[in-house]
Symmetry: C2
Subunit: 202 residues, 2 copies
Amino acid sequence: MPKDRAPTRIQKKNRAAILEAALNVFSAHGFRGATVDQIAAEAGLSKPNLLYYFPSKEAIHTALLSGLLNVWLAPLHDLDENGDPLEEILSYINRKLQMSQELPRESRLFANELVQGAPRIRDNLSNDLKSLVDQKTAVLTTWMDQGKIARLHPYHLIFSIWSLTQHYADFEVQVRAILGEEDPFEGAAPFMETLYRKLLTP
Amino acid sequence: MPKDRAPTRIQKKNRAAILEAALNVFSAHGFRGATVDQIAAEAGLSKPNLLYYFPSKEAIHTALLSGLLNVWLAPLHDLDENGDPLEEILSYINRKLQMSQELPRESRLFANELVQGAPRIRDNLSNDLKSLVDQKTAVLTTWMDQGKIARLHPYHLIFSIWSLTQHYADFEVQVRAILGEEDPFEGAAPFMETLYRKLLTP
DNA sequence: TCTTGATTTGACCATCTGGTCAAACTCACG
DNA sequence: CGTGAGTTTGACCAGATGGTCAAATCAAGA
């Protein structure tokens, strides 16, 4: 393990390669289903070499998840209480849908973890996520109080956005098995726009 | 392995115990994350004894999945083209939501499999599932043509129902982390009823 | 170029895991 | 109660897996 100095050129390159490989492998097979050998091979390193950069399989997973959590929550963070309510929400939905399209591995990484009870990120859920959601549902509730959007259960409104957008990444095989050649996102975007316009119009 | 005669009392009891235990373990840890020892212990059998009833870990998983696929698809199968369109769809949604509540392990079993690319049930998706969905989307399209429900992309309408209802089972930890003590399904049912009434009203 | 710290690796280890097998035990039934 | 089929188990195996370590190699600054 290198000293705690500034990372060298090689360290930067290899750490990045490892995290990229780990994202591939963990998102496709889950934590338990992924092997260190697999990640090392995909990163173009030997196993001992990989373990020179991260002390354990778990450490790689943790580094990956905590690094991505911010990326993952950014769209919700951006929801602006001073913007136009309907447009803000629709824009949030579009960003989430775009992330499902452009970052499906990240989506499945979290899905894998959550489906199995989130044993390695439970704390993040109860703390960071919970407080962010509480903050934003307060905004939603204000908008409802002002009659700017329809009155709905704010938590379930958020859940619906998450589940609908992430479905296309998390269950991509199923979506593709049913749609065949048709591009999932081409239909998804207008469907969701219609859905939330109808739902949120007071 | 016993002969292919009618199963004995002990065979029935043990096979059932194994499948029940396997449902617990596979749904909580995924195929790769589950161990035969774990399933055996949970079923109250020794590992060799378990492997006397099923030839391999994979065989248990297959038996479990194929046995549950019918249960899982039954609500969609029941969608009746001769019923009242809106009520039929709302009733389908309620049954799906109820399954999420009463059979969360089954939901997570499929979710685990799907998130990882459904390596063991790909065929079922492209065959059974695809044809059932095609059949039912035809019904939905007819209803739309007749102006009885709003015109929407029928596949995405189905996806939305799946994702919204199953979200509460598959990502239960997350839902609970955010809702706290509040019962998820108490809010989910009316939320979804409102959503789909607004969405489907022409 | 030399030196020193950073990087890489082959060999190795303990444990876990799916699966096998022969021997022992139990049960139902004539 | 004897017997043969059905059931259970301890001991075992091979391969996979996470991780270690000392030795070898490499890279960059003095």
